[in-house]
């Protein structure tokens, strides 16, 4: 996984709450057996609408998505994170994320930055007033910055310490856990014999 320290890119406003992962990528697009190529399915139903934000050329190359509350609800599909990344997004900003989506983002290297609801609203308003404006998400200082002069926005975002550390270092979770293999083996020796198994030696 690549290290994530800070990113500045065009902000894309998605003025919707409860964006579930079926909207981010419908099930019919989940049949690939690779981690790439899911950008075609990103917001597939909404992209048929010429007025949808991603169809506006101003947002070509957009890399910071700003969405309403409860982003990423529903299905556990990590394909939703991959679709956002495959399309070019590096970060998503919302006032509330569904747990599984936020977990998947941390594992795959997409920054899910949780901000105060007022901050999300100010970012959306800024992007309406200045389409194509850039947003900076600085993981080192946990800060989101956008706009200038009187419109300048600077506020903190929430991310748990552990995920932040892993993203900053670009670490592989499996590798970290395998460093504790002895603990796992010790634990396994204590499991009751009546616990179920799917196959017997």
């Amino acid at each position: 996984m690549d290290k994530f320290t800070s990113h500045t890119g065009i902000g894309v406003p998605l003025r919707r709450s409860n964006v579930d992962t079926d909207q981010i990528i419908p099930a019919v697009y989940l049949k690939r057996v690779t981690r790439s190529g899911f950008e075609d399915g990103l917001f597939a139903a909404w992209r048929n609408d010429p007025a949808f934000v991603l169809n506006n050329p101003v947002y070509d190359g957009g890399s910071v998505l700003v969405a309403g509350p409860d982003f990423g609800t529903g299905s556990s599909r990590e394909h939703a994170v991959w679709a956002l990344q495959n399309y070019g997004f590096k970060a998503v900003i919302s006032s509330r994320f569904a747990d599984i989506f936020r977990g998947n983002s941390g594992k795959a290297g997409l920054l899910a930055a949780q901000v105060d609801e007022k901050v999300a609203q100010r970012l959306l308003d800024l992007l309406d007033e200045e389409p194509g404006a850039t947003i900076t998400v600085d993981l080192e200082s946990r800060t989101v910055r956008a706009g200038s002069g009187e419109n300048a926005i600077e506020d903190s975002f929430d991310i748990d310490d552990y995920t932040r550390w892993r993203l900053l270092e670009g670490l592989d979770d499996v590798g970290i856990t395998l460093g504790h293999a002895d603990d796992i083996t010790t634990y396994e020796a204590t499991r009751p014999s009546w616990k179920p198994v799917t196959q017997r030696a």
Partner: protein, 470 residues
């Protein structure tokens, strides 16, 4: 300092599975059972192959094919080449890594959350994960069960553990008894409309109270299944005699002395009297009625006897906007009685309501009646075993004589990954779990309902309860 030593059920199960705990880090949690299916696993196995890592515990891993498999012609090669590749990839991976697989055509094949309990692999006090958010179903047995993403699937395959921050605890106490004809599905739909889709976020929820105790295991699974629909990390119910009776004699349940030892332990899996939950919700089952959704998330629900709401009924600006968008998508007028909403397709099935008990209830209602003109009733058993049991009881004949389609096992129209899909604008009454835009097919409009409401709706052609049938 006075100290409360009591622990909740979920804290007990959690504590039993901590492999390693360190300040500032999530706990490393041991996983007792890892369920696998074709859609969320290929990239995880690929990751193992790239790193040259084996599956640590194939004997705690079980795979099946459910999400994209066809429910007709299941004995022939899968027609859709992309679906076929995904299923074949799972078969290759299971073979290469030594994982037990129940493929299409196998007698134990079915929806992953139906077959775990059916085999007796799902037992109290376990940790169970799967790359599917409805893994919460298994909480009905008093286990901590939750959905994970593909990176975590790879992590569990490689290490049999997960790094998890300990969630907060919540009690949902449902007092009283459900009135006749009101089901576990109505109960959980009522709850989700009460809490909203984010109300459970960050919590492991314990469902308790008289109405929960009175539910069958099937009903408990329906309630726990939909925990994720209000954002909960997991939902569970303390095991009791109903649980033990369901499990005893199942193929993978403990036998003999092991059974006695297991039951003795399972009986300790209750929330202590002096334990404190971080949050508590109390509802009264005796006031509940058949409940259906009108919108595009499971928290947009109303009593079947109610009206399609107006955006003006909501206080929060975001809820008003969401209601407007939902009504437009659903093609509904505010103020319309729900009972007047005409339905094109009725779907009975899914990990929420695809068990034998559900099919018996549906068959009992459609028996001797005909599905309404212009309405289609699709009945999809949750597993091959459920299908065979239903056929042994003659339920398939009842459905077919009523004009319904009787299908093979799988997720089917719950998520429309296989050919069982709604067409744009088509309206369904569905016993599944999600009414998201396009969930059952592009442009499809979904109303989530209980099994009795689904069956009665199929007969009348508009949203109905069995009480509406002459």
């Amino acid at each position: 300092m006075s100290q409360s030593t009591g622990r909740t059920l979920s804290e007990k199960v959690w504590d039993e599975h901590v492999v390693r705990s360190a300040a500032g880090e999530p706990d490393l949690l041991y996983i007792d059972l890892h369920l696998i299916h074709e859609v969320t696993s290929p990239q995880a196995f690929d990751g193992l192959r790239l790193a040259g890592r084996p599956v640590r515990r194939p004997d705690l891993t079980l795979a099946t094919e459910d999400h994209n498999v066809p429910t007709i012609d299941w004995d022939k090669p899968i027609a859709d080449p992309v679906s076929r590749t995904q299923v074949e990839t799972l078969r290759t991976n299971a073979e290469e890594f030594g994982v037990r697989l129940h493929p299409l055509g196998d007698i134990e094949q079915g929806i992953v959350h139906i077959i775990g309990p059916q085999l007796g692999l799902t037992q109290p006090g376990m940790t169970i994960v799967c790359g599917d958010s409805h893994t919460s179903t298994h909480g009905a047995f008093g286990s901590i069960a939750f959905g994970i993403g593909t990176s975590e699937v790879e992590h569990v395959l490689a290490t049999q553990t997960l790094m998890q921050a300990k969630p907060k605890t919540m009690a949902v106490t449902i007092n009283g008894s459900l009135p006749e004809g009101v089901t576990a599905k109505d109960m959980v739909l009522t709850l989700i409309t009460h809490t909203g889709t984010g109300g459970g976020q960050g919590y492991i929820v314990e469902y308790r109270g008289q109405a929960i105790r009175e539910l069958s295991m099937e009903g408990r699974m329906t309630v726990c299944n939909m925990s994720i629909e209000w954002g909960a990390k997991a939902g569970l119910i303390a095991p009791d005699q109903t649980t033990f009776d369901y499990l005893e004699g199942r193929p993978e349940a403990p036998k003999g002395d092991d059974w006695d030892a297991a039951v003795a332990h399972w009986k300790t899996l209750v929330t202590d009297d002096d334990a404190v939950f971080d949050e508590e919700i109390v509802l009264d089952a005796s006031e509940m009625t058949p409940f259906v959704t009108w919108g595009t998330n499971p928290g947009q629900g109303v009593q079947l006897g109610g009206l399609v709401p107006s955006p003006d009924d909501f206080e929060e600006p975001a809820d008003k906007v969401a209601a407007e968008k939902a009504l437009t998508y659903m093609g509904l007028e505010a103020g319309t009685p729900m009972r007047e909403v005409k339905v094109d397709t009725v779907f009975v099935g899914s990990c929420t309501n695809g068990r034998i008990e559900d099919l018996r209830v549906a068959a009992d209602i459609v028996k001797g009646r005909k599905v309404a003109d212009d309405t289609r009733l699709l009945v999809v058993p949750g597993s091959v075993r459920v299908r065979l049991q239903a056929e042994q009881e003659g339920l398939d004949v009842v459905f077919k004589e009523a004009g319904a389609e009787w299908r093979g096992a799988g997720c089917s129209m719950c998520l429309g990954m296989n050919p069982d899909q709604l067409t744009p604008g088509e309206r369904s009454a569905s016993t599944s779990n999600r009414n998201f835009e396009g969930r059952q097919g592009k442009g499809g409009r979904t109303h989530l309902v209980s099994v009795p409401v689904a069956a009665a709706t199929a007969i009348r052609g508009t949203l109905s309860s069995p009480a509406d049938l002459a």
